[in-house]
């Protein structure tokens, strides 16, 4: 049993899922779901579609180079079963996924590092440049021309109870 990667979004395809298209030069395109298959049929480039792994990798959104990715590899020779080895591997899988998640988090944190300072800077600049757009509330109270005049609304005095009685 082999877990393949989707050609379009690079997600894992578990057995029994998806569709594969075999081109006449025997290249196999595997798709994890109809969404990816449809996007392929529309001839979209996965590098230009924002939700794919290819885009995220290309634009530095995700961590690309890491030693934890080395474990996931295509091996053409089946391993001879060894109980101890299998046990250790199962233990290691948990640890490796944890390490990878931590590193990914760190990567994203690094990526977002300058964001807050930048936002603050922009806000300060806006405040400085366009303070004239707003007036202080005290100024509004002093000059009535700045506020909207109060419109008078006529309230009907008819009582609905009478109508109901007539009917």
């Amino acid at each position: 049993m082999r877990l393949e990667k989707c050609w379009f979004c690079s997600s894992t395809i578990y057995p029994g899922h998806g569709i594969q298209f075999v081109r006449n030069d025997a290249k196999i395109f595997r798709f994890c779901r109809s969404k990816c298959h449809k996007n392929f049929k529309m001839k979209r480039n996965p590098r230009k579609v924002k939700w794919t792994k290819a885009y995220r990798r290309l634009h530095g959104k995700d961590m690309t180079q890491d030693s934890t990715f080395e474990f996931e590899r295509k091996r053409n020779r089946p391993e001879r079963y060894d109980r101890n080895l299998a046990e250790n591997t199962l233990k290691a899988i948990k640890k490796i996924t944890k390490v990878r998640a931590d590193r990914q988090e760190k990567h994203i944190a690094n990526r977002m590092k300058g964001k807050k300072a930048q936002e603050r800077k922009e806000a300060a600049k806006e405040l400085e440049q366009s303070i004239h757009l707003i007036k202080a509330p005290a100024a509004l109270q002093q000059e009535p021309s700045l506020t909207l005049p109060k419109a008078k609304v006529k309230v009907s005095q008819q009582q609905p109870e009478d109508n109901r009685m007539e009917e």
């Binding site: 057995p15 569709i19 075999v22 025997a26």
Partner: protein, 165 residues
């Protein structure tokens, strides 16, 4: 009558698309997906009466037309056997034009479920000619063929094939 008109429409659509494709090729594309005739509007339906199929062996026939699917009410699918009439043949081949032959559908544009629940589909509709005993007439098979042929007892075709998908 109706079928002939639809086939005419289909040809027009194909030629239009072909034209579009040529123009697209002029553009500089660094992208892998400049597949030549990836979706040249191959009909993605059952192989039924009057379906034209490509012959992908060296029996001498180039194109055949399905005249009967031997299994299935709606028509033949990937791996099924059909009866076909030879429409185009090379001179000096083993089969002649107009001959009625048997063939196995080795590639179909319509998707077919696999034993694990996933699906597989191909670029075009292609057939390998066989005799009544089920042995291939030609000695070579071109292009990819599905491994499901083993289940249909066409091991000879599988062993002759270049690629197995």
């Amino acid at each position: 009558m109706a079928s002939s008109s639809t086939s005419k429409l289909f040809h027009v659509g194909r030629s239009l698309l072909g034209g579009l494709h040529k123009r697209a090729h002029g553009l500089p594309t660094s992208y892998e997906l400049t597949c030549s005739d990836l979706f040249s509007q191959q009909l993605r339906t059952f192989i039924q009466m009057r379906t034209n199929l490509k012959v992908v062996d060296n029996s001498g026939a180039k194109k055949v037309m399905c005249i009967q699917a031997l299994k299935g009410k709606k028509g033949a699918r990937l791996g099924d056997t059909i009866v076909a009439s030879v429409k185009e043949a090379q001179p000096g081949g083993k089969v002649k034009k107009g001959q009625v032959v048997y063939g196995v559908v080795v590639r179909a544009a319509m998707q077919r479920g696999r034993c694990d629940g996933s699906e597989v589909k191909f670029d075009d509709n292609a057939v390998v000619l066989i005799n009544k005993q089920g042995e291939p007439i030609g000695t070579r098979v071109f292009g990819p063929v599905p491994h499901e042929l083993r289940k249909k007892k066409h091991v000879k075709i599988l062993s002759l094939a270049e690629h197995i998908a």
